[in-house]
């Protein structure tokens, strides 16, 4: 334990503030009948305290598994442990048992789950689901915990909180329930909050409210936050930094503005094009990424996005691009023919003139990229 803590300290010595979260070449694999599934396959990340990271990718990109790995909330059955480390506040927590992780859960690390319809216990009152955290972590008395619960519910925008604490979850709307889960997650003042697709299961009209709530709470509490989503639109104005995941790996990582202005990875570009844009005509078709996310059992030698990538060349099929910071130190990407570079433009042009990419994907649906 002490040695690992030391290693953490050394690694972070270069920056002004020690990062609160350092992930180094982390892997989460699951053994299945058809071989090891590499859900997370070598991810490195660092996050400064008080910052917000957007973790973006399709379903199956490994973002949720990564988030749950940080918390140590994955089932232990069938899980392989091929290596890597996760440091929280200088302490290695990546391979701690659930028993040891319990010291972190709630008061250091907390999570907001995707579906508020299923993440609250249907037969326990909202009040008790809140007070049990307060009593456990803050050692509050019953009445103090109740007062604090009312306060918390009010702070997350629940009307008449003193009455709501006697309600059962099914008596609240979806948006209200997500506010409750946020209040629960925040109850013991966690230092790192993971929000796993917190708005996906909600009505569109409520989504922005919940995101704003998370945003304001994060700011007030100077909390560190990881916002996991499949929607780049969600993280656009609300994060300091974005990491895009594909096939269990980070394929591009940069400060938010930089990522949107100087997109390098074709996958990131495709995700951006598939976000509905308010300024475009209402009947314009959204860009869709052809094909499906890769099956993560036996990755081939090349870039994992190459089968679906409009830029794909021969090299992409045989050689996996490393994650490097080519232009500026805080912008990393893994691509041989990056968007917005002469090599990328040339590769795209070649594919358009051939009609297919090097992996054989038709270019007919890619016309949106030509502009």
């Amino acid at each position: 334990m002490t040695t690992t803590a030391h290693t953490g300290g050394r690694r972070t010595a270069q920056t002004d503030v020690d990062p609160i979260l350092v992930i180094d070449d982390w892997k989460t694999w699951f053994s299945t009948d058809s071989g090891a599934v590499r859900a997370v396959d070598g991810v490195s990340l660092r996050l400064q305290p008080g910052r917000t990271l957007g973790l973006v990718g399709e379903s199956g990109s490994g973002k949720t598994v990564l988030a749950r790995s940080i918390l140590g909330l994955l089932p232990t059955r069938n899980r392989l442990n091929p290596g890597g480390s996760i440091f929280f506040d200088g302490v290695s927590i990546g391979n701690l048992s659930k028993r040891k992780m319990r010291d972190y859960w709630g008061k250091d690390l907390a999570m907001v789950f995707q579906n508020p319809m299923t993440s609250l216990n249907p037969v326990v009152t909202v009040g008790r689901q809140l007070t049990e955290v307060l009593k456990l972590h803050l050692g509050m008395s019953r009445s103090a915990a109740r007062d604090r619960s009312v306060e918390l519910l009010r702070s997350v925008g629940i009307p008449e909180p003193a009455r709501r604490i006697h309600d059962y979850p099914h008596q609240l709307s979806g948006g209200m329930r997500q506010r409750v889960t946020i209040a629960i997650a925040l109850a013991a003042n966690p230092r790192l909050l993971l929000a796993d697709e917190p708005t996906t299961a909600l009505d569109v009209t409520v989504q922005a409210q919940i995101l704003d709530l998370l945003d304001s709470q994060q700011e007030q509490r100077r909390m560190t936050m990881i916002l996991v989503t499949h929607d780049l639109g969600v993280v656009a104005g609300r994060t300091d930094q974005i990491a895009v995941m594909y096939g269990g790996k980070i394929v591009e990582s940069a400060p938010t503005r930089e990522l949107f202005h100087n997109t390098r990875m074709p996958y990131t570009q495709a995700l951006m094009l598939s976000v509905p844009n308010l300024t475009s005509p209402s009947h314009s078709r959204l860009f869709t990424i052809p094909g499906r996310p890769p099956v993560l059992t036996n990755p081939g030698p090349g870039c994992r996005f190459s089968p679906r990538c409009p830029y794909a060349q021969e090299r992409c099929l045989v050689e996996e691009p490393p994650l490097v910071a080519a232009d500026r130190p805080d912008h990393e990407y893994a691509c041989w023919y990056p968007v917005g570079t002469p090599q990328g433009a040339e590769a795209l042009e070649r594919n358009f003139s051939n009609g297919v990419t090097a992996s054989g994907t038709s270019m007919s649906s890619m016309s949106k990229l030509e502009a």
Partner: protein, 311 residues
């Protein structure tokens, strides 16, 4: 908790629809592989052990008079209450010097005649009523269901006791009484299954082709619900063996000199301290037989479940 698996299943592009609920494909995937695994396992060692034991008991019961064993009623005064393993009395004798092996084998005869007879009545009567109720619905169904509920509203053993006390206990009455006891369970099972199948396409198709109701019942419904009913019959036999034993134990079972397992256990109770085997030997026979019926019925039930889901 399933999240780990769900993220590795392939899903449609996020660009088309905002992410669907991720739990669904996982759940399906899991049950799929689960049933596949159950199938690959075969019937299992326990199943074959149970089948072998039942085969032995049934065979022994059938050929009992031909077996080279003592007369179950003969009292051997030179060897009263000898322990199992004694020469001439493999499983020992009871307080009257009667050979326990012989009594257990002849007890199996009585127990099996009664329970198999009873389960046949239950299956035929209950199965027919349940099927008619589920197929024709209407008033007939309401009457049948109400009668079934009323029967199930009386604790089974109490109902049996009352019946036996009134009718007097004889082998025939026991078969009828226990058979009656099995009727409601079979009614429920076949009615539920018939309701399911009546809505299936092939029944609707047969009907639209002009097949008569009776033809549909006999050709389409019966073969389809039979596996589930047969599996259940094994479980019911287990229950009926216990019920018959309970009646004998309480003194309203088969009249002497016939002996059934339940009566043997009751007889041994008084000498439990001195000769526990007098109770234990028939107990073991009964336990193994009931356990075998339960294990086999349970495996069959699993199999018929699998069939249902893959259809």
């Amino acid at each position: 908790m399933n999240e780990g698996a769900s993220t590795v299943t392939t899903q449609p592009d996020v660009s088309k629809v905002p992410a669907p609920r991720s739990a669904e494909p996982t759940a399906k995937g899991n049950t799929g592989s689960g049933s596949r695994r159950a199938r690959r396992r075969g019937l299992g060692v326990l199943f074959w052990c149970s089948a072998a034991w039942l085969g032995l008991v049934v065979l022994g019961a059938i050929v009992a008079p031909l077996l080279p064993i003592a007369d179950p009623a003969a009292q051997d005064y030179r060897s009263v209450a000898v322990a199992p393993g004694s020469p001439g009395h493999l499983l020992g004798t009871d307080g009257l010097g009667r050979d326990l092996l012989a009594r257990a084998v002849f007890g199996a005869r009585i127990s099996l005649i009664i329970t198999l007879g009873a389960v046949t009545i239950g299956l035929v009567v209950g199965g027919t009523l349940g099927m008619l109720a589920g197929y024709f619905r209407g008033t007939a169904e309401r009457v049948i269901v109400a009668a079934t509920d009323a029967m199930m509203a009386v604790p089974a053993l109490v109902l049996l006791l009352a019946l036996m006390a009134t009718l007097g206990s004889s082998v025939q009455n026991l078969i009828v009484g226990l058979g009656l006891l099995g009727v409601p369970a079979f009614v429920r099972l076949t009615r539920a299954n018939t309701l399911v199948y009546t809505k299936r396409e092939f029944i609707v198709a047969a009907r639209s082709l002009g097949a008569s109701n009776w033809r549909i019942l006999a050709r389409e419904i019966v073969p389809n619900i039979l596996p589930a009913v047969a599996a259940y019959a094994f479980l019911v036999v287990g229950i009926l063996i216990i019920a018959e034993g309970s009646l004998s134990f309480l003194g309203v079972g088969v009249p002497p000199p016939a002996s059934s397992w339940g009566m043997m256990i009751a007889e041994g109770r008084d000498s439990l301290r001195q000769a526990p085997w007098v109770s234990f030997i028939p107990s073991a026979f009964m336990f193994l037989t009931v356990l075998s019926f339960n294990l086999i019925g349970d495996r069959f039930r699993e199999e018929s479940d699998v069939r249902e889901t893959t259809i």
